[in-house]
Assembly symmetry: C2
Homo-oligomer: 398 residues x 2
């Protein structure tokens, strides 16, 4: 087939590397630290089942008819009350919430509404690969801002803002995917001042914010910069990813544009899921559900870190994540992530080599390891297998 038939944007896009990895990772006998999947055993199946039965009785055919593009209002009210009621200085309400088909769709709509080909966009380096994929289809100039241990490098950020006028900064400041890194409180305040000075929109993706392992919370960057922040949230990490319910909270003028894009993209997100989640939130305490997830993932994280310290402290460095679902390992000199990946696959353990997380000039010495989706036993065996793979390729190299 004549390739000229396709759009430039799609001709530039490769088949997703991570999809290929996930195929390999699902082979029998493989221990997979590759996906970013939540632990399905923590899904509140019974509660969601009861909620579903209740809404069929309560709403009948209304569950099944077309809904409005903004999303089911009672759910938007609950999201607003839980996540945005205390955002200061901004006239925000449930009408500022747009329900999306997972927060992946939020990224797509943001690309649609903001990006002209060639527009500069700032993103963390390394950055969330789903965002890189979604934005890339709008052909921006993605510029990576390096991460330090306490989050974005603010001098490089400011340097970029002073030279160019990016459409927005995309950031995942809390328990970032892939690095597990969290922007410090001090930097949250400073970044808001910098963004305000240069009048730059912030897209704050808060997918992992509630999966924290310590008791102290940290305010969203939005709370310091409410007038120009788009906040992204999701139920994928707390209740269920398969229901595909995420949201954007945005200032009115931006929300109106997002709504036009939403309508053209899929009219509205699945109504049944929205109403089921709304019912769940009416009947149950989401915080109890989140507490379960926090305890379980904290244990898995500690378990994995212990094995990493035992087995891989000579071969890799990492920042201990305070929440979220991932370790990000920087490999010692001479270990190439793809080489290690191939050895690991032969040894029946999978992870994601770091390079798809770089918007440009990928580093070859990083890997992402997920702990949320594996049992403690698999975590032990899997880390052991990675350590064996490191030894194997080191021998070959020597």
């Amino acid at each position: 087939m004549n390739q000229n038939r396709f759009s430039n944007r799609i001709l530039k896009s490769n088949k997703s590397f991570i999809r290929e990895i996930l195929k390999v990772a699902s082979q029998p006998g493989m221990i997979s630290f590759a996906g970013g999947y939540p632990d399905p055993e923590l899904f509140p199946v019974e509660e969601l089942k009861l909620s579903t039965e209740a809404v069929f009785a309560k709403y009948g055919f209304k569950l099944l008819q077309y809904g409005i593009s903004e999303g089911f209002l009672p759910l938007r009210e609950k999201i607003f009350d839980r996540y945005y009621k205390n955002v200061n200085h901004l006239d925000l309400g449930p009408e500022n919430i747009l329900i999306t088909t997972g927060s992946q769709q939020a990224l797509d709509l943001i690309g649609k509404v903001f990006i002209n080909p060639g527009d500069p966009i700032l993103i963390e380096r390394p950055g969330y690969l789903g965002a890189i994929q979604a934005f890339s289809l709008y052909e921006p100039n993605l510029i990576g801002i390096p991460l330090e241990d306490d989050g974005l490098d603010l001098s490089i950020l400011e340097n970029n803002l002073s030279r160019i006028k990016p459409k927005f900064l995309y950031s995942n400041p809390t328990f970032q995917n892939p690095s597990g890194n969290t922007l410090s409180l001090e930097k949250r305040k400073r970044i808001s001042e910098i963004l305000r000075t240069y009048d730059c929109i912030l897209v704050e993706d808060n997918a992992y914010g509630e999966i924290r392992f310590e008791s102290d919370t940290i305010p969203d960057v939005q709370s310091f910069y409410p007038e120009n922040t788009l906040s992204l949230g999701t139920f994928s990490k707390t209740l269920s990813p398969g229901l595909r319910v995420g949201w954007i909270c945005a200032p009115k003028e931006i929300l109106e544009k997002l709504l036009i894009a939403k309508q053209a993209s899929d009219l509205h997100s699945n109504l049944l899921s929205q109403i089921v989640l709304n019912e769940y939130l009416s009947r149950y305490d989401l915080d109890l559900q989140i507490d379960k997830i926090r305890s379980s993932y904290r244990l898995k994280k500690e378990c994995m870190e212990n094995f990493l310290k035992d087995r891989l402290s000579d071969s890799a460095q990492w920042v201990s994540p305070k929440g979220g679902m991932f370790f990000w390992l920087k490999l010692k000199k001479g270990i190439h992530s793809m080489e290690l990946f191939e050895a690991a696959i032969s040894n029946h353990v999978a992870f994601v080599p770091g390079f798809p997380f770089y918007s440009e000039s990928p580093e070859s010495d990083t890997i992402r390891i997920n702990y949320s989706h594996s049992s403690l036993e698999s975590i032990e065996t899997g880390v052991l297998r990675i350590a064996e793979s490191v030894r194997k390729i080191s021998k070959v190299t020597v």
Copy 2:
């Protein structure tokens, strides 16, 4: 806010006119022929409820985990068996089906995969406004091909194909929205030859194909041109629009590109709905459900046509639809669709003035009237009110 922040595509898009109409149309006391809503009383609520209960028992947490971007395989197999098994000459299988978030998303993905700004795209005149909206965000040059009583004007189509190389022809050949018009069998064969000659892709949107009022079926255009057709289908008109499950059936090479776009757009469509629909299709006979819809809409259509003949035959002309959900009225000289719309709204009846259905140079003498969503009583009263509105504006004009 600085408008330069937004993308060109969104700055060119207006707030949807039809959304504004639907707001007006939902006012109390209003009879609305405006939306394209199915009759909710025909939704198989009980069957879908039982199917939902069954899948919670059967699949448990698998319902709630991430799914694959292609969609739930057993559902894709059922769609393939029902709709595509007999398409000749093409090596098609369930792997050629991509599940989308309603067929609106199919339109968006097609725009993403094919359209560069300025690319020529052919569409019926009048054409489906959801397609015009979805494609417009990719900034094509939309060229309208007029409809005759038996479908697209083939000489104008061929004339365009000989002069330009459009990315595709988008067509809704069976019980078209908005015109109710159906492409004749003879023209289906001829159009396939023409498209083959000029090597032009066909996007065949078959949202209404099963809602036919006569017993004879007509083969899809795809069956004459399988190698270069993207076929779009949906459960929105037969089972439930709120579940947002549609699909694209496309040749492999195109499907691969659509899949990249799908992944970047929302990862995958709601899994619960897909599994519920799959269960419904295992347990019940969709044809019995469709028979109910056909009988009901046929009756409503006949009822509306009788009242139109009684009350509006002096003021408008139409082609009697053989299926689908709409009458498309061409108003007699001197009656302007917006003027009539405003008078009708004052008289508590709503419809859609024709102009959003034209990709360029809208006509001002057409209106779309829906019958599927109103009771027989409302159909009588509504048509009466439209007739009164015609008399009212005619007096004013004289």
